[in-house]
């Protein structure tokens, strides 16, 4: 059975329907890419999965739990982390405090400091700046922090909303390497990206979203060779 199953999801903002009946699944160990233009509803889907928005209809099932009936703060303890759009780091807190909050649901102090070392290893800049107030980090540094913070909860599945936004070309490649590595270490990844080319290059499968509906789905490699995808999202 799939790890995460989304079924006939419908989400509204007031009277505006942002998600118009979407179903898809994520299997354990996979990297799934969600691509689509501005305003297609990618962020909305992630928010609905982690409980920040409640859907009007449909279900979200994660390892047998119905997430739509669960308050957002309980979802993290099930092993799901979310790197939200716009980073949403705690601006007034230090880098270190931000990272500690990432491990809020975990108890074992030793395991937490182990994870912390791993995160520092992946993002040396964060270690350098661990006492800096997060709000004064540069855009890219904040993105690293958001990622590091999510990893601190040692999740089974991680949802990422445009992790490469605002990063330098070198670091974009690095981020995708890191995502690959996270996935290789057994974490499932659901990835939302504008940088469709890179996303598809590391994904196993992908879904294409257009104004709240899935219009295309399939193998990532096939998708890269699909003409309409090329034209609309790869800029070729």
């Amino acid at each position: 059975m799939a790890m995460l199953t989304i079924n006939n999801l419908e989400v509204y903002y007031g009277v505006i329907q942002a998600i118009k009946g979407i179903s898809f699944e994520v299997n354990e160990g996979e990297v799934i890419a969600l691509i689509g233009a501005n305003g297609a509803g990618k962020t909305t889907i992630l928010h609905t999965i982690t409980g920040l928005i409640s859907p009007k209809a449909g279900s979200v099932e994660f390892e047998g739990h119905d997430l739509t009936k669960m308050p957002a703060h309980n979802i993290v303890s099930l092993g799901m982390a979310h790197v939200p759009e716009g980073r949403r780091i705690f601006q007034e807190l230090s880098v270190f405090e931000n990272l500690k909050l990432g491990a809020y649901t975990r108890k074992d102090k030793n395991e937490i400091s182990e994870t912390l070392e791993k995160v520092y290893l992946r993002f040396p800049r964060l270690k350098e700046r661990k006492n800096q107030i997060a709000g004064t980090l540069s855009g890219g540094e904040q993105q690293m922090l958001a990622m590091g913070r999510a990893l601190m909860s040692h999740p089974k599945i991680i949802l990422m909303d445009e992790p490469s936004m605002g990063l330098s070309p070198l670091f974009v490649s690095e981020i995708f390497d890191i995502i690959k590595e996270i996935s290789d270490n057994g974490t499932t990844v659901l990835l939302v990206e504008q940088n469709a080319k890179k996303a598809l290059s590391i994904a196993d499968r992908a879904y294409v979203l257009e104004t709240g509906k899935i219009v295309l789905e399939g193998d990532a490699e096939e998708m890269m060779n699909n003409d309409s995808v090329k034209k609309a999202y790869l800029g070729e």
Partner: protein
């Protein structure tokens, strides 16, 4: 000179009450990001609760103190749930107005139940006053000062060193992101109000022990003064609230004693304005440049 010392002690006496009230103000402000105008009235509820428990129900003193704190904490939680929580997404000013509404509500309720006449209340603190030469420091003042200090230290520790404290700081900045960290936002805010109101209860108890009289409007003026103290110290800063309260008490006392008792309010507020002009975020407030 003896009298200067005496006046300084007078200032510390009212200052430590302000400080204690300001601690609760600043704590709720720091986390919930709202000026809880009803804070002063929770002090009043605490005072009446203590009176009812001790004078009418004859509950033993320690139990009465404990119950008073519980009553106020629960009241704080209820107020938040009923009047503030539905307004989480509304502009900050809307919450300010409901807080004012809650303040009116508590005051008029007390007026209905207990009538406008003040009730004389005998202090439950029986600590002897200290006498140094000509100067007397009353036992209640001493106890107030010590309790305020203990509250300040433990609150600072709580917020900065415990997990719940960290959760509070996260909630104060970004509720959705805090939710994503696995923090139960509603519970955290409830805890904040419980602690803030518990502090108000302590302030209420010490207030009636100091001044030995209870009336429905008792919380209003100290509430405003404590708010001023919190801002003076840098709102959101816990040590700042304590310092702000003490400084306010001292300024009040000195200006009444050596400048003019008629104009003391004007002087106190004048000093506040000057301090804020020199240090725009209060004595201990953080003044961070916004990253652009």
């Amino acid at each position: 000179m003896g009298s200067i010392l005496e006046q300084l002690i007078n200032g510390l006496r009212s200052g430590s009450i302000y400080a204690l009230i300001a601690l609760g103000y600043t704590m709720v402000y720091g986390i919930a990001k709202m000026i809880n105008f009803a804070h002063g009235d929770i002090i009043m509820v605490g005072a009446y609760a203590l009176y009812v428990l001790i004078a009418l129900l004859k509950v033993p003193v320690m139990a009465a103190v404990f119950l008073t704190i519980i009553i106020c904490s629960v009241l704080g939680i209820i107020i938040e749930k009923v009047a503030y929580k539905p307004l989480r997404k509304a502009p900050a000013l809307s919450v300010l107005i409901t807080a004012i509404g809650v303040s009116f509500f508590l005051q008029s309720l007390a007026l209905l139940i207990f009538k406008p006449n003040p009730i004389a209340f005998k202090s439950i603190i029986n600590v002897n006053s200290i006498r140094i030469g000509d100067i007397t420091i009353s036992g209640v003042s001493l106890v107030t000062f010590i309790i305020t200090f203990i509250c300040m230290v433990s609150l600072t520790y709580f917020i900065n060193k415990t997990k719940t404290g960290a959760a509070m700081k996260a909630v104060s900045e970004d509720k959705a992101a805090a939710e994503l960290m696995g923090i139960n936002v509603n519970r955290t805010i409830s805890i904040t109000f419980a602690i803030g109101s518990g502090l108000a209860a302590v302030a209420g108890i010490l207030f009636v022990c100091q001044y030995q009289s209870i009336q429905p409007t008792l919380g209003a003026l100290p509430g405003i003064k404590a708010f001023v103290a919190a801002v003076l110290g840098g709102i959101g800063s816990i040590p700042g609230a304590m310092i702000g309260g003490l400084v306010l008490g001292l300024i009040e006392s000195i200006s009444k004693a050596y400048i003019s008792s008629q104009l003391s309010d004007a002087i106190v507020f004048g000093v506040l304005v000057v301090v804020l002009l020199v240090k725009p975020s209060g004595l201990l407030g953080k003044n961070r440049i916004e990253k652009v």
